[in-house]
């Protein structure tokens, strides 16, 4: 039936000029044609489409047949495949590019990953052919196409391991390779345009304003494309180095993106160092920040500095401190969110930037730059909250590395800042340990510094040797900090002879006794008394109610499961542990008191 309708309308239109086809003709052709293909009569449709007499009609209306063709082509085992392929190829050759573009783009939209990958693989090549036929509309159409393609790619699952990249089960790698092949002619054209623009500018009186605009549009669309891919998938996948994975489609893809940036005239140093360079406003239809999204630039910095892509074209003249100042912005961005892959890349980038610097080479005025304070704050979050143990450990390693690179004054100011702002006992303890190390270095012959002995040291010490809440301080919560403070104090009274008093500790000691040691002593006693009472109560309760479940004041749920209340045994164990901790704190305090006594008594 459909075949009859199709033949009828075709016959009728053969006699007419193409501009007098009616809307009804279009509709009948479309509906009948599609039905024929769906019903498996593609051979007949093929002969109609190939017929010389019908070419005007095919040119006008043929593109409407795309929707049923594509599913057949994707299915591959369909017996109508050869005919459908022939129809498809003929349509691509014959129909108008603008309409074909619309038809093809519609078919890109798929939902499940397998179909997405297959349809991209099928359609990128015809899309390329069609786009190359467009004249002045090419750049904007290319932009539209790339945007749709990348939206589809974004739906594909990403390989997470080297093996997954090799297996490429969801075809992401193949899509990236297909994408590189797809953009290649446009990149080549942009590269050519760049050459001719340069020639033009040397011959300044030739006005080719219109031509230049279109060339710039092409470059702009390709820039948009590169920036998007830098965010996704490139920021989210972990690239493997050549020793780990000699043939890596993802690494190839990343390399090609960098090459494309170069082809359109973008300078890699300008891009990665952009945070500090005041770029000229580019007149065009994209604003600066939209044109160069921060996330894409951070991804680019990671590719250049951690994976060394395009390393041989990156100039080796920039100062490492300047490089660090720029990359701190990228690092801040990467460490600002909690996704593992971003944190890992942020840490890698930070580490690479720091390793180039000599220890003690960064001056204190760098701390006036905001990122030099906000990055460590983010690093603290990683070190303390990140669920992944390896990232927490790495975070700590990078944190210490960053401390090592500061010069003495910068370290001093940094420690002050961190003590004031980190609000975490473990981090504070770590800083205090660093302070002790610096004092130790300063006390060594030939190393004296104004910052970790003498005048400046005391204000810092006063911030260390203090109990946050006086005698009521929760000793268990602040344990790390308190232990490190006591260790520091003990170190000082041993190392600094009372006769030399290089650190000033001996003249300060009476104040420290009042503000630190005595309240601590009181706190220990109070805590111990409290926990001993708790212990007693728990043991009494345990004796009385052996069988009955203890009613506790709190309950804790994880997920949807309520955790079992602590058993009496566990409670008692915890209390023992707390009491043991107080003993430990007290032992150091007592030792310090002894040492001080000895020095006091002649």
């Amino acid at each position: 039936m459909a075949l009859e309708q199709l033949s009828d309308v075709v016959q009728r239109c053969q006699a007419l000029p193409s501009d007098s086809y009616t809307a009804e003709d279009h509709d009948v052709f479309t509906i009948a044609g599609r039905s024929c293909i769906e019903e498996g009569n593609s051979a007949q449709v093929l002969s109609i489409v190939l017929d010389e007499k019908n070419q005007d009609m095919v040119r006008c209306m043929g593109w409407n047949l795309l929707p049923p063709l594509i599913p057949v082509l994707l299915k591959k085992e369909d017996k109508n495949l050869p005919q459908c392929l022939a129809i498809f190829n003929h349509l691509i050759q014959t129909c108008r590019p603008k309409e074909l573009l619309i038809g093809l783009l519609e078919q890109l939209e798929q939902d499940d990953p397998d179909t997405i990958a297959e349809s991209l693989h099928l359609l990128l090549s015809p899309l390329q052919k069609v786009l190359l036929c467009l004249g002045s509309r090419k750049p904007s159409s290319l932009g539209m196409t790339l945007s749709s393609v990348l939206d589809q790619v974004a739906k594909l699952p990403l390989p997470r391991t080297k093996e997954q990249e090799e297996d490429d089960v969801f075809s992401l790698c193949r899509c990236c390779t297909d994408l590189t092949d797809f953009v290649r002619p446009f990149v080549d054209e942009a590269r050519q345009n760049l050459l001719t623009t340069k020639t033009h500018s040397e011959d300044i009186d030739k006005t080719t304003a219109g031509q230049d605009e279109m060339e710039d549009e092409l470059a702009t669309e390709l820039l948009k494309f590169c920036m998007k891919t830098l965010s996704h998938p490139l920021l989210e996948v972990q690239l493997r180095d050549p020793d780990t994975l000699p043939v890596s489609p993802l690494r190839m893809f990343a390399t090609e993106i960098l090459e494309t940036l170069r082809a359109i005239g973008e300078s890699l140093p300008s891009l990665v160092y952009q945070p500090l360079l005041r770029r000229k406003q580019v007149p065009g239809f994209l604003e600066e920040e939209v044109r160069y999204p921060k996330e894409s630039l951070a991804s680019l910095a990671h590719l250049v500095f951690v994976h060394h892509l395009a390393a041989d074209t990156f100039p080796s003249v920039f100062s490492p401190v300047f490089s660090l100042r720029c990359t701190m912005e990228h690092i801040l961005l990467l460490l600002s969110r909690t996704e593992d892959f971003r944190i890992q890349k942020g840490l890698e980038l930070y580490e690479k930037s720091l390793v180039r610097l000599e220890d003690g080479s960064l001056p204190a005025d760098l701390l006036e730059i905001k990122t030099f304070l906000t990055v460590p704050q983010n690093l603290v979050k990683v070190m303390t909250i990140c669920p992944r143990h390896d990232l927490r450990t790495r975070g700590l390693k990078v944190f210490q590395l960053s401390v090592d690179k500061f010069d003495t004054e910068a370290k001093y100011r940094f420690f002050q800042y961190m003590l004031k702002t980190s609000n975490h006992s473990g981090v504070e303890g770590y800083i205090i340990k660093n302070i002790k190390n610096q004092i130790d270095i300063a006390l060594q012959p030939g190393n004296s510094s104004t910052w970790f002995e003498g005048v400046h040291l005391l204000p810092l010490l006063r911030k260390v040797l203090i109990l946050p809440d006086g005698p009521e301080t929760d000793l268990l919560q602040y344990l790390d900090r308190i232990m490190e403070s006591l260790n520091l104090l003990r170190y000082l009274v041993i190392r600094d002879k009372v006769t030399e008093n290089q650190t000033g500790i001996w003249t300060e000691l009476y104040k420290i006794e009042d503000s630190f040691m005595k309240p601590l002593r009181v706190g220990i006693n109070m805590s111990r008394a409290h926990y001993e009472r708790e212990m007693h109560n728990t043991m009494e309760a345990k004796k009385k109610k052996k069988a009955k479940e203890e009613e506790s004041v709190l309950s804790v749920s994880v997920g949807d499961e309520k955790l079992p209340s602590m058993t009496s045994e566990s409670q008692i164990q915890a209390l023992h542990s707390a009491l043991h901790t107080f003993d430990m704190i007290e032992s150091v305090l007592v030792r310090i008191e002894e040492l001080v006594q000895v020095k006091d008594d002649p």
């Binding site: 590269r191 760049l194 050459l195 340069k198 020639t199 500018s201 040397e202 300044i204 009186d205 300078s267 140093p269 160092y273 060394h308 390393a311 100039p315 080796s316 003249v317 920039f318 100062s319 490492p320 401190v321 300047f322 690479k352 390793v355 180039r356 610097l357 000599e358």
Partner: protein, 223 residues
């Protein structure tokens, strides 16, 4: 001191406005005939091509007319009179090592040899954007970096390296060295590691720790 005869107007106003007269020609005329201070005020110093890019035809016409009104031709600047005499003396300009300059800023951490003289007029100041072609080698001759394209066809694709000089963006040897160069100069900078990449070198690159670096730098433009 005998002054040259005053230059005469080559073009009428109509001729000036015509599209047949390229900007380049007007600029050349003004550069050839105007005093240095005039050129400076009207932003007409430098490579003709660059000036042509930035100056509009209208501005050039105005400048051209002002030149004849003010009569600020070459030789009318007080200093220029002497400069003209000095220029008259013949100087050998062979592109070989002319002299080795040891820059006197405390302990010298780099040396400069001029391979080709520049215009000795356009020296970059701190904060100016400079553009250079360069090649960097290690003491053993290994080339670790260059922005000079090898194939002639690629020359048009590459741009010279541009950056703001004297701001600590590049290694110190470059910052200090480039401030002593004038436009068009090619120099050989031998930089001690302390003013290059120091004890660490540049990890993951050809530059090892404690490397002395040798750069041949051509200062192409100063903005």
């Amino acid at each position: 001191l005998k002054m040259a005869a005053e230059p005469t107007r080559e073009w009428s106003d109509e001729q000036l406005k015509s599209d047949d007269l390229p900007k380049k020609d007007v600029i050349k005329f003004i550069q050839d005939n105007a005093a240095h201070s005039f050129l400076n005020e009207h932003k007409l110093l430098g490579n003709i091509k660059n000036v042509a890019k930035t100056a509009k035809k209208e501005q050039l016409i105005i400048a051209y007319n002002q030149l004849f009104e003010s009569k600020r031709f070459k030789g009318t600047d007080p200093v220029e009179a002497v400069t003209e005499q000095v220029k008259a003396v013949k100087i050998e300009e062979k592109p070989k090592e002319v002299k080795t300059e040891v820059v006197d800023e405390g302990p010298p951490k780099y040396t400069k040899s001029v391979l080709k003289k520049g215009d000795k007029t356009n020296f970059p100041k701190k904060g100016d954007t400079v553009s250079c072609w360069y090649t960097g080698t290690l003491e053993d001759g290994t080339v670790f970096d260059t922005n000079i394209p090898t194939a002639a066809r690629k020359k048009k694709q590459t741009k010279p390296l541009s950056f703001k000089v004297g701001m600590g963006r590049v290694i110190r040897g470059w910052d200090e060295g480039l401030l002593t160069m004038s436009k068009g100069e090619t120099a050989r900078l031998e930089i001690e590691p302390e003013w290059a990449y120091g004890k660490k070198g540049l990890p993951d690159s050809k530059i090892p720790p404690n490397a002395k670096l040798i750069f041949e730098v051509e200062l192409v433009a100063v903005d």
